[in-house]
């Protein structure tokens, strides 16, 4: 199925399916997002459920590949106390100049991007040197039993939305970022990651 169509379709039930997760993990997202500063790019805004976790006063440009998701996010974006622009764009092909953002934020994004390293390299490109990447992502567990089960479940989950077995931390490194901090949120599957684009040597 076409990626845009898949997420357009998922937008109908997205808030319902993520209701419990939002309640459980919202505080962890708020803590991570509180580190955002300056001009911020938020990738995969979805229906806007995470907008409420951003600190006020930022200049945020939020993107999603699905126009239906963006439509649903508009009302929540209007309530944000700061500048919050929305746009339809693919993270693998960002239409922004090099070094134009201070912070990049993602939330359960790189489980779904077809070529995650390409998407992360685009974020690397548009971040200023020293710019930070804040990610709230789920990934493959380092526990072999759980990891294998996530591998198996990905065959089903991929039909509806995300992969469950991505090695996101390695992908972040491959894109050129320096990992500052990883913190477990649920087991070692859901993690908060802080990374930085190094200053040019």
């Amino acid at each position: 199925m076409n990626l845009r169509k898949k997420w357009d379709r998922a937008s109908i039930t997205y808030d319902l399916l993520t209701f419990g997760e939002d309640l459980r993990q919202g505080d962890d997202k708020r803590t991570l997002f509180s580190r955002a500063r300056g001009r911020t790019i938020f990738v995969a805004v979805g229906t806007g459920a995470d907008i409420k976790y951003f600190p006020p006063g930022l200049d945020v440009i939020a993107l999603d590949i699905s126009a239906r998701m963006i439509e649903r996010a508009r009302q929540k974006a209007a309530l944000y106390e700061g500048r919050f622009e929305l746009g339809v764009m693919d993270v693998q092909q960002l239409e922004f100049a090099d070094e134009s953002f201070d912070t990049a934020v993602t939330a359960c994004t790189f489980c779904s991007v077809p070529d995650p390293v390409r998407g992360l390299r685009e974020l690397f490109r548009v971040l200023k040197p020293g710019g930070q990447l804040l990610m709230f992502e789920h990934m493959r567990s380092s526990n072999p039993m759980v990891g294998l089960a996530l591998d198996a479940m990905t065959y089903v989950s991929r039909l509806l939305g995300p992969d469950l077995n991505r090695d996101t931390v390695t992908n972040v490194r491959r894109a050129g970022f320096q990992i500052i901090r990883e913190q477990n949120v649920y087991l070692d599957i859901v993690r908060a990651i802080e990374a930085r684009k190094p200053h040019a040597s």
Binding site: L17, G20, E21, R173, E182, Q183, D188
Partner: protein, 138 residues
């Protein structure tokens, strides 16, 4: 401990009990006493996996995807094998199947919750073996 944690904890245990009971009943319906034990355990594992997927998808909106699916996966797969092993050796009544299934489900859920308490909020710098098998901050 706040109300949200208590409610989610109760919900997780209820979900675990549901997966355990549903798996135990499904396996009991399929595996007769005297069946080959190895074959029965393989069938039990498949049944448990399917049961946990169905119950997990139904409860994900309330409890969260991973918080439902990870305990459910262990209960379904291992519970399915254990219940099938027992059912291939002897016929058990419904009451026994239900109660053992529920206890197994809750016990596994509590075990995963305890494991999560050990791992939660650990950072890469605090891991003796770093997360994901790489050097922290490398």
């Amino acid at each position: 401990m706040n109300a949200k944690r208590v409610l989610f904890g109760a919900g997780d245990c209820t979900a675990g009990a549901l997966v355990g009971v549903a798996t135990a009943l499904a396996v009991r319906a399929v595996v007769p006493a005297g069946a080959d034990m190895v074959g029965a355990m393989m069938v039990g594992m498949v049944i448990g996996t399917l049961v946990h997927l169905v119950v997990g998808i139904a409860l994900t909106p309330l409890l969260g995807m991973f918080e439902t699916m990870v305990p459910g996966m262990f209960i379904g797969m291992y519970g399915g094998m254990f219940f099938a092993m027992r059912d291939s050796m002897q016929a058990v009544g419904i009451a026994t199947a239900v109660s053992v299934g529920a206890v197994f489900g809750v016990a596994v859920t509590l075990g995963i919750a305890f494991w999560n308490i050990q791992l939660r909020h650990l950072t890469n710098a605090e891991f003796r073996l770093p997360l994901g098998g790489h050097e922290p901050g490398a």
